[in-house]
């Protein structure tokens, strides 16, 4: 039979100084692990939260992102009247030919410059993206050199206040509204009229087409048609699939998170091991007494593992709690697909918390295993004679 749980818990509490040091060490490792993974989760959620499963996005074959895609105007004429494309109440095909332009703009507080993604969008494009809505000001009026910027970007860039203007190339654009993308990739964009965008930035080509097919069967036929028509050299896929793949930015952060977690966990394992060696060393005679009373080796090992696991769990809970403080905090990084500033929120998800806690307990158990086994293997007589 196992030793009572209170034996393990009280022993951990009695040695509170070393217990606190171990708990803090493990908390730090878990905090770093969870925080970095929550960054990656935020980026992934931002991309994964974007798009409508009914829409198709068309880009040039070989392009990994809209901003790197160029599509000729003739392609629009060839595609827009295909029968698979739905029509709105006015009988117009529901297709938006967007233009994406990267502009370099100053951040607030003279904090350098960064690329911002400008999307030239059509009225159909706005209808196809209902998750984007205005939170301040008004929508742009075509021909008036007006732009609506993401409210989240507005907090980070100079000249993004309502009524402010910024110059890019030969164009001077006035900010007339702030948009919100509902936690999607559109939170990292500024929108203006598509034709005006092409004119201001002298773009003869489009970047992408966003299409609403008649139904799922029509969507499948349209993908097949576009991909196999040699005239087009285009790639069509569901909008949600396209954005789900736009998670390359998260990869290095995830890698860094895992790398730091592994390297720091080595230190945490030694800290736990040190604590437990000290704990076992101070209690050798006590362990001998337990063995004399009839407790078997495995009971002693289990009690010590419980003690180490308990300390590690406390550390894990503390680390997750500190990381959770940043949950929902908005930050930004350079997108690896668009090379523009992308904003996202730290996402401390239940899965990340679970992973953090499992990680912590694993560190605790690994750190405790050796001292526990050593204590249990000691002959009873030797243990009883320990000072």
């Amino acid at each position: 039979m196992a030793l009572p749980l209170r034996y393990s818990l009280r022993n951990a509490l009695v040695r509170w100084r070393s217990t606190v040091a171990t708990v803090l060490g493990i908390a730090l490792v878990v905090f770093v692990f969870v925080l970095l993974q929550s960054l990656a989760a935020g980026i992934e959620k931002s991309s994964g939260n974007t798009g409508d499963p009914r829409n198709l996005l068309v880009v040039r074959k070989g392009s990994t992102a809209e901003s790197a895609s160029l599509i000729g105007r003739q392609n629009l004429q060839d595609i827009r009247y295909l029968p698979e494309i739905a029509r709105n109440a006015a009988g117009e095909p529901v297709i938006s030919a967007d233009v994406l332009v990267l502009v370099n703009l100053p951040r607030r507080l003279h904090n350098g410059e960064a690329n911002v993604l400008l999307r030239g969008v059509t009225p159909r494009g706005m209808e196809l993206r209902p998750q984007v809505h205005l939170v301040a000001g008004r929508w742009f009026v075509p021909g008036h050199r007006e732009v609506v910027v993401s409210a989240k970007l507005a907090r980070r860039f100079a000249n993004f206040d309502l009524g402010s203007s910024f110059k890019s190339g030969s164009a001077t654009l006035t900010v007339v509204g702030w948009l919100a993308g509902g936690g999607s990739a559109f939170d990292s964009e500024c929108w203006l009229d598509a034709d005006e965008c092409r004119s201001l930035f002298e773009r003869d080509m489009y970047s992408s087409f966003l299409i609403r097919p008649v139904d799922a069967a029509a969507a499948a036929r349209l993908i097949d048609r576009i991909e196999n028509d040699r005239r087009f050299k285009l790639k069509a896929e569901r909008e949600v699939d396209y954005y789900r793949k736009q998670t390359m930015t998260a990869a290095p952060i995830k890698w860094l998170g895992n790398f730091l977690a592994v390297t720091m966990s080595v230190g945490a394992v030694f800290a736990a091991m040190n604590t437990m060696y000290a704990a076992v060393g101070a209690r050798t005679r006590e362990i001998g007494t337990l063995r004399v009373l009839g407790f078997r080796r495995r009971s002693v090992v289990l009690a010590l593992l419980l003690e180490g696991g308990f300390l590690a769990l406390l550390g894990g809970i503390l680390g997750c709690a500190i990381a959770f403080y940043w949950n929902g905090y908005t930050t930004a990084t350079m997108g690896m697909e668009t090379f523009s500033e992308i904003v996202f929120e730290f996402r401390v998800t239940p899965r990340l918390v679970t992973e953090g806690l499992i990680f912590a307990v694993a560190v605790g158990l690994i750190g405790t295993a050796l001292p526990a086994i050593r204590a249990a293997r000691l002959p009873v007589i030797a243990a009883l004679k320990a000072i």
Partner: protein
């Protein structure tokens, strides 16, 4: 009148320690019979082998050769797990340094050996309270060892040794760390266990006054019985 039944029978028991290239004989061909209900004291100078003999009888050390039968079971033949179970069911231990678990209360310390039995919570509680009552510490059951005097700690240790109702109680210098008053109390309890309850008590001591509480005393010197 019939002979008292023997509880411990030792035949040609030897224990030799290897210290590097040198071999130290702790016990040399000891043969001994201990009767049930006896209060036997083992005396002798330091290094005479008395504690080693006690540890072998109690199943916490192994001889180099010979037999040690306790209630007909040769404890030298049991493996580690069997010995652990056997100790729990058959032997009560009292140590010189009390060896209570510092983070557990007097009640929880006494309850420890019972956690290895199939007894339920209520039965365990009853037995623990009875054991603490026997040593006069029922009112100290929720105290931690550090809140007790040395004499009280040793009485808790005796309660722990009694709680499983073992036939055999072994005590290794139980009064070595106590003042004379507490020592008298502890020895009185051990004596009454033998005389009134019929437990077999084997006690190692240096002190002739302590040995006087026993019903029989044997002396060891250089690993051999001298009387």
């Amino acid at each position: 009148m019939s002979e008292p039944e023997s509880i411990v029978t030792i035949r040609h028991l030897s224990k030799i320690y290897a210290q590097g290239d040198i071999q130290v004989t702790a016990l040399d061909d000891i043969s001994l019979v201990i009767a049930a209900g006896e209060f036997l004291t083992l005396m002798g100078p330091s290094g005479s082998g008395k504690s080693t003999l006690l540890h072998i009888i109690a199943g916490i050390d192994r001889p180099t050769s010979g037999e040690c039968l306790v209630q007909g079971i040769d404890v030298t033949k049991l493996n580690e797990s069997q010995l652990a179970d056997w100790r729990n069911q058959n032997v009560g231990f009292v140590f010189q340094t009390f060896n209570l678990i510092p983070v557990l209360t007097a009640f929880e310390n006494v309850e420890l050996p019972l956690l290895l039995t199939r007894l339920g919570h209520a039965q365990r509680r009853k037995l623990v309270n009875t054991a603490l009552d026997i040593v006069g510490l029922a009112d100290r059951s929720h105290h931690l060892p550090k809140q007790l005097s040395g004499g009280q700690e040793q009485r808790v240790a005796i309660a722990r040794a009694l709680v499983t109702d073992p036939k055999l109680v072994v005590a290794d210098e139980p009064t070595g760390n106590l003042d004379s008053h507490s020592a008298q109390e502890v020895l009185g309890i051990l004596q009454s266990l033998s005389r009134q309850v019929g437990k077999t008590v084997i006690m190692v001591t240096h002190d002739p006054k302590a040995a006087a509480f026993g019903s029989r005393s044997i002396h060891l010197e250089k690993g051999e019985l001298t009387n």
